[in-house]
């Protein structure tokens, strides 16, 4: 049906809290750092799909994950993005954890767990350590199965700020988009909403992904795309419905105060297709048939930026069929693989 299916957001985990230590460098191997399970906000029955608990954490066995994704869901290529628990106060330790994550992912998932060749990986970097991030991208940028660079959504500064440009430039140079996704719970981070911590899981999960809006507004108004014309940002946690009201506002305001940001030389909305992608899951869709999905996707070009994102193995994960009912054939293809194929190198050719 409608060609390929690329899953832009799969979170692989270690089998248990010890596994990652085998991949830590010697200097940091004896340090303690936070485990992958989240701390405060728990979905009913745990964060992850209950049926997925086996010998280790859900999403920790490449063979089982392959069966679920490639056989049951019909996915052709899955982009793996491990979590590293956010900005640790010790930024050098954080860089070491990111390095360990990259060695672990390359070994366990992209090599020995990848006989079918359908897994792709994310180079985790620590934005609090700009030179360390650049070095990590240079180290892994040539790996044929690493297709993006990953940083936490919960950052200490907005990602359009110039201090991050060397990281984005290194990623662009390597032909890799930058994925900004929820990755915290134990590090230095601001509360998930402007008025502090959410009370319940539903309040948390309904709002958390929207933090991407602050990054997006900043990215679209700083001179980022003049300095790093090849930068592409992926917000894999979704929240596409917020794209429409905010891009309307940004376009409207730009007409009046354009002179304050003269490097933005066309309406902000015109940057989206070339520079921005969003994960698309069932949490992003209008519920039921409340709004015709065809119109909803077409509004402010959402159909050109959303990519199928299962969020496997999380509790709210979706199956591909959840997403396409009522869409046009062209929209379905964009969501399933075309939009992802434009930003992730090699994913369409090798899957075909």
């Amino acid at each position: 049906m409608s060609g390929l299916l690329i899953d832009a957001a799969v979170q692989p985990f270690c089998r248990d809290g010890r596994e990652i230590y085998d991949y830590m460098d010697e200097v940091n191997r004896d340090r303690g750092f936070p485990d992958v399970e989240s701390q405060w906000y728990q979905a009913p029955g745990g964060d992850y799909d209950e049926s997925l608990y086996g010998k280790g954490y859900p999403g920790s066995d490449p063979e089982i994950a392959s069966r679920h994704l490639f056989e049951d869901d019909g996915v052709d290529v899955a982009i793996l993005n491990p979590r590293t628990r956010g900005n640790l106060p010790d930024f050098q330790l954080n860089t070491a954890v990111c390095s360990a994550s990259n060695r672990w992912l390359a070994h366990r998932w992209l090599d020995e767990g990848n006989p079918h060749g359908r897994f792709r990986g994310t180079i985790r970097v620590n934005p609090e350590d700009v030179p360390g991030s650049v070095a990590e991208i240079e180290r892994w940028g040539d790996h044929p199965l690493m297709v993006q660079v990953g940083v936490p959504l919960q950052s200490r500064d907005l990602y359009g700020r110039p201090r991050f440009y060397p990281i984005w430039a290194a990623a662009a140079e390597a032909g890799l988009p930058i994925c900004i996704s929820t990755n915290g719970g134990a590090g230095l981070e601001y509360p998930p909403t402007p008025t502090g911590h959410a009370r319940t899981y539903s309040q948390y999960i309904a709002f958390m992904a929207y933090n991407y809006v602050y990054h997006l507004l900043n990215i679209l108004t700083e001179p980022l795309f003049k300095e790093v014309p090849g930068a592409v940002f992926v917000f894999s946690d979704g929240g596409a419905e917020q794209l429409t009201p905010f891009i309307w506002k940004l376009d409207t305001l730009w007409l009046g105060v354009r002179d304050q940001t003269p490097w933005v030389d066309r309406p902000p909305s015109e940057y989206l297709k070339d520079h921005v992608r969003l994960g698309f899951s069932r949490l992003d869709k209008p519920p039921g048939d409340s709004v015709p999905i065809v119109d909803w996707l077409a509004q402010t070009g959402k159909e050109d930026v959303v990519m199928y994102a299962s969020n496997y193995p999380f509790w709210w994960r979706n199956h591909p069929d959840d997403l396409y009912e009522g869409t046009t054939k062209e929209q379905t293809e964009k969501v399933r693989w075309r939009n992802a194929g434009e930003v992730y190198r090699g994913v369409t050719a090798e899957a075909a």
């Binding site: 001179p223 003049k226 730009w254 007409l255 003269p262």
Partner: protein, 131 residues
Amino acid sequence: MQVRQPINKGARRSAREYVVCRQEDLPPGRMVIAPVGKFGVGVYNVHGILYAINNYCPHMGGPLCSGNVYGTNLWDDVRGRAEHVLDGRIARCPWHAWEIDVATGVSVADARKRTRTYDVRVENGEVVLTR
């Protein structure tokens, strides 16, 4: 003492010409609104060159010429930085701050949006607008 010559303000030399003011009453940096057309026409002296635009913003019809006059900032691709340019040539609509180049009537942000321009000249010490 210089004797100011009386002028024939508002006179129509022909059906299409209108005397706006004396030349000395429109020094560089100043603007005069001539009661021409439905909304009036703003006549600007920008560093010694006269321009005239309709007092009607192409956005929502605001009184464009009653706003302040500025320059604007544009990105210079060669230098790789923002530059302040067109000083004294940008009318800013008081309603939503749209920037209009008084020399062309065109919006700086969106070249598809423009307001009407008029020919204006000095003749015998008088500023003459052609409708």
